[in-house]
């Protein structure tokens, strides 16, 4: 019995393999052989474009070194969100289970109350959830790395928009599901979408002026007050849920959007985003 004579892929084939020109079945043979032959791999490296080889090693290093991301980040990556955007979102509290569970709890409670007594709880809380999410995902005292964020070259306003999309993506579908769970009020309860967008935009637009606590606080209080007054003065659907109310809300949202874009540069420094109530009150007065 004689042992098999060691063989190597010819230089010509290796050159063609490196260039991507080697046809099957020689390609399959070369690939199988390369996996187990250090000599041929080193010869292949000589024929490969050094830049492509370095890129390949860098990609391999990056894959080996990359920490396994959390569940939320994995879901984002599976949804084909670019990895750097997924990481920016993963740092936001809105993508944590505690926030998502809170949203589900509030909406479930609102649906329960709505199916047994009045839809007012759902109508009042659902539009505020995206605003609450935005407050939690951005701002001093709430974003732990806020100071690093605001001094980074990436524009803070851009980060704000990225996180706003995550907030809306996590709250709007659950709100829609909650609306569908209330068949007798489906039309009215779906009317919270416009107020949700308008309140979120208004809260953000006022943030540079009033700070990250007072701005959403005032917007929320104003919203709840308008619902309460409407409920006391008439027995029909609350004003924001009427046709005129929806138009008014849409107009307010548009104006707030214009104001938000105009104030975008104020998000780039920290001073006007101080969480101090006293400072905010002074700004207001």
């Amino acid at each position: 019995m004689t042992s098999a004579k060691p063989w190597h892929v010819s230089e010509e084939d290796l050159r063609a393999y490196a260039a991507g020109d080697l046809p099957p079945p020689r390609l399959w043979s070369a690939e199988t052989h390369l996996a187990g032959c250090p000599h041929c791999r080193s010869v292949l490296a000589e024929h490969a474009d050094p830049r492509e080889l370095a890129d390949g090693w860098a990609r391999l290093d990056a894959e080996l070194d990359a920490p396994s991301p959390g569940l939320a980040e994995r879901l984002l990556l599976r949804a084909r969100v670019p990895d750097h955007i997924a990481r920016l979102l993963a740092a936001a509290p809105v993508l944590r289970w505690s926030w998502f569970a809170s949203v589900l709890f509030v909406l479930a409670l609102a649906v329960l109350v709505g199916r047994t007594t009045t839809p007012l709880l759902l109508l009042s809380t659902a539009p505020l959830l995206p605003l609450a999410g935005m407050v939690l995902s951005f701002g001093p005292g709430l974003d732990p790395a806020y100071e690093l964020t605001v001094t980074a070259p990436l524009h803070t306003f851009r980060l704000l928009l990225v996180r706003a999309s995550a907030v809306l993506a996590s709250t709007l579908p659950t709100g829609v599901l909650a609306s569908l769970a209330m068949p007798s009020f489906a039309t009215v309860t779906a009317g919270w979408l416009l107020p949700a967008l308008a309140l979120t935009t208004l809260g953000l637009a006022l943030m540079p002026r009033l700070g990250p606590v007072l701005a959403p606080g005032l917007v929320s209080a104003g919203w709840l007050l308008s619902l309460l007054l409407g409920w006391l003065l008439s027995h029909g659907p609350p004003f924001p849920y009427t046709a005129v109310g929806q138009l008014t809300t849409a107009g307010t949202g548009l104006l707030a959007g214009v104001a938000l874009v105009a104030a975008r540069h104020h998000f780039e420094t920290a001073r006007h985003l101080t969480p101090s109530f006293r400072f905010a009150a002074r700004r207001l007065l």
Partner: protein
């Protein structure tokens, strides 16, 4: 968001870490930081009062008591907040405009007093997050840069550990690694050695000294030892004003002839305490025939502050 351009205007090549870039260093003869007449008031409290400062390569220490305005000054220099008045240039760019501010931020590393780690992130993930905030979008190049800075602070072995599982000293090193992403020409460190044990503090000093070899570092600290061991220059800030600006030796010299030993407490001394030998070490104007002692940096610092009129005196 696009791939982060290098300062030379070309896109960072994949697989390469951010190199030391000439534009991240000041032009010959120009200071890294030139601040003039910086003033800032919070709720009627003057945080900065006409502060003028020039910073050159090397480590500069910023000393001052609590409330002196150190963190405010650092935040202004790091472009986190804008001053009410004054002019500022950092590495030839004016952070007063949106474009200038972004340009400064690309050349700046900042370690705030509370870096604010995201819970659940590993050391690698946190630095990676900061690299993304610095506009690194190319995954392989970004990860290479993250590995580079984690290796520079000696954390390669624990890069996969959750930050909450790291010691205080290691967390500070993670924050320093984040500040070193992109090899910034100006490094702002706000009390990085607070809460560290002596061994960790010495390790951290080594890192700061290394970082200061080829860039400008401004180190805010309460520890006069940090200044004595690291800094070629020291600035003392009190009530938002610069009260001293010179070398550590010159600060110590402020106390020459004003430190003396005694066997009993000296009521006339501005400050005095019993030392390990049982003698009192006194600062102030010594009585005739007092046995004078060699002044230290801390003596000079205390006398610089002790010579200030208090608010009640003013």
């Amino acid at each position: 968001m696009t791939t982060r351009p290098s300062s030379s205007g070309t896109a960072a090549s994949p697989g390469t870490a951010a190199p030391a870039d000439a534009t991240r260093r000041p032009a010959a003869g120009t200071p890294t930081v030139a601040a003039s007449g910086l003033s800032l008031t919070y709720h009627r409290t003057v945080a900065l009062d006409e502060v003028s400062l020039r910073l050159d390569p090397g480590v500069t220490g910023l000393l001052g008591p609590n409330g002196a305005g150190k963190t405010t000054l650092l935040r202004v220099l790091a472009t986190a907040i804008r001053p009410d008045q004054g002019t500022l240039t950092v590495l030839d760019d004016d952070p007063g405009s949106v474009r200038g501010r972004t340009a400064v931020r690309r050349k700046l590393g900042y370690l705030p007093q509370s870096p604010g780690f995201h819970p659940g992130f590993t050391a690698f993930e946190f630095v990676d997050y900061v690299a993304i905030l610095r506009e690194h979008t190319h995954r392989a190049a970004r990860h290479q840069e993250v590995r580079r800075v984690l290796a520079a602070v000696g954390l390669s072995d624990v890069r996969g550990k959750r930050i909450r599982a790291l010691s205080g000293g290691m967390r500070q090193r993670v924050a320093l690694a984040a500040a070193l992403v992109d090899d910034p020409g100006f490094l702002v460190l706000d009390e990085p050695t607070v809460g560290l044990d002596p061994e960790q503090r010495i390790r951290f000093r080594e890192l700061i000294a290394e970082a200061g070899e080829d860039r400008t570092v401004l180190l805010s600290t309460h520890q006069t030892e940090d200044v004595a061991m690291l800094c070629r220059r020291v600035v003392v800030l009190a009530h938002g004003r610069i009260e001293f600006d010179g070398t550590p030796a010159e600060l110590a010299e402020q106390a020459a002839g004003r430190v003396w030993a005694s066997t009993a407490r000296e009521p006339a001394a501005l400050a005095g305490w019993r030392t390990g030998t049982g003698e009192f070490r006194n600062l102030g104007d010594p009585p005739d025939g007092a046995r004078l002692l060699e002044p230290t940096l801390e003596d000079g610092y205390l006398l610089t502050l002790g010579g200030l009129p208090t608010k009640e005196d003013a």
